[in-house]
């Protein structure tokens, strides 16, 4: 978790590319052109700078540098509408598609999480559970659709997909999809693979 901040930022950049937040590289173009296009789509159009700001903020916060976390937070709020609290622990490979994310409380997020706009991950004060500062715990490779809300001390496993506008207030096991409000877990179908080529003749 206490990874080098440069490695984190680099793997975030790679995650943007690997998760398809960049264009398909055109082999007819030159290497420099392709690199420029990737940089353009991730840095100038994407919300990767917001992730960088968050990483720098966490680094400065851990080091006890004064003022820099506040500046990073303000930048994030003004430009991308991203509000991530100090105590949030996010492993490497975070992808914010467009920004507009609120993450608050003691939240732990695993590797390669991609978060879409208008998502809230935070605390709840329900009559069933009561208030606790422990927020959701997300595993690796979690995909959160637009406008989904994850509230309260729930645990979400690895390889979970959370549908758009779902409200997750209960645990989701590994490899399930959560849809609806309140969200129910349904097992994921394996992705459609290419049909096996049929052999002619006998």
């Amino acid at each position: 978790m206490s990874d080098n901040v440069w490695n984190e930022i680099r793997s975030d950049y790679d995650a943007y590319y690997n998760q398809g937040f960049s264009w398909l590289p055109d082999p007819s173009k030159s290497e420099i052109k392709r690199r420029w296009e990737r940089l353009d789509s991730i840095v100038l159009r994407g919300a990767w700078p917001a992730v960088v700001c968050f990483r720098v903020k966490k680094w400065a916060w851990r080091k006890g540098i004064p003022l820099l976390p506040f500046l990073c937070d303000t930048l994030n709020r003004i430009f991308w509408g991203v509000l991530i609290a100090d105590h949030v622990r996010i492993d490497r490979g975070l992808c914010l598609a467009h920004g507009y994310v609120v993450i608050d409380g003691g939240v732990t997020i695993g590797k390669n999480c991609s978060i879409n706009p208008y998502v809230t991950i935070g605390l709840s004060n329900s009559s069933k559970v009561g208030f606790s500062l422990r927020g959701p715990t997300l595993g690796d490779n979690v995909y959160i659709g637009t406008g989904a809300k994850i509230l309260g001390p729930v645990t979400i496993g690895n390889d979970v997909k959370i549908g758009a506008n779902a409200v997750v207030i209960s645990d989701i096991p590994d490899g399930h999809t959560a849809v609806g409000a309140p969200a129910r877990a349904i097992p994921q179908k394996p992705l459609p693979t290419r049909k096996r080529r049929q052999r002619g003749g006998a």
Binding site: Y118, K161, V179
Partner: protein, 202 residues
């Protein structure tokens, strides 16, 4: 660009409710300062103008300025509209906070309410090696409610009203009202559903 902005202005000027003057001022004019200032002041008309300007620059292959327009839009109105989105005249963004990503086609006189989005489906959810770059195609006079999301390569007909917080992932025929996750057309013959529409959407 200028014809589009003119139509956008007409839409916004009608929204502001500032009446034309009396007497000679009632005559249709080239430029109505009161209504223009009202549209700029009360509604994100400037975001739409900036988007049109950005698109105009993009068509002329101007390098950096489109990104600057984007950033101003993001900072001021939280509006992100992709370069390759095609939007007809009379676009109305009622309060900002709109994301339109990917190759989206939008017809004339469409309204986008806050937290609504028009965009792509992530590659994890379509079993495709890369993100699909083709977004939805909207007809004319489409009303997108608060928090509604339209995702994937689908077609939506003319005069469709999309209810609040609905997730549209299927094709929608024209002259319908759709609500829910995933969005389904309401049966307007049924008096109960008809009443729902009048209460919630109208």
């Amino acid at each position: 660009m200028f014809e589009n902005v003119r139509e956008d202005f007409n839409v916004y000027a009608n929204l502001t409710g500032v009446k034309r003057g009396r007497g000679i001022l009632a005559a249709p004019r080239l430029f109505d300062a009161r209504r223009f200032i009202a549209a700029l002041w009360m509604f994100p008309f400037s975001a739409v103008v900036l988007y049109r300007f950005k698109r105009w620059l993009h068509d002329r292959h101007v390098p950096i300025l489109p990104r600057l327009c984007d950033w101003v839009n993001i900072m001021m109105w939280q509006v992100q509209i992709a370069d390759n989105a095609t939007i007809g005249p009379g676009l109305c963004i009622s309060h900002g906070e709109v994301i339109i990503a990917g190759e989206v086609k939008v017809g004339r006189n469409c309204t986008f309410n806050p937290f609504s989005g028009c965009g792509l489906i992530h590659k994890r959810n379509i079993g495709h090696p890369w993100q699909g770059l083709v977004g939805p195609t909207l007809g004319d006079n489409v009303f997108v409610g608060v928090g509604a999301r339209i995702m994937g390569p689908i077609t939506i007909g003319d005069n469709v009203r999309i209810g609040a917080n609905s997730i549209v992932i299927h094709d929608i025929p024209k002259d319908t009202v759709v609500v829910g996750i995933p969005a389904r057309p309401l049966d307007l013959e049924d008096p109960e559903q008809r009443a729902l529409v009048q209460d919630v959407i109208d």
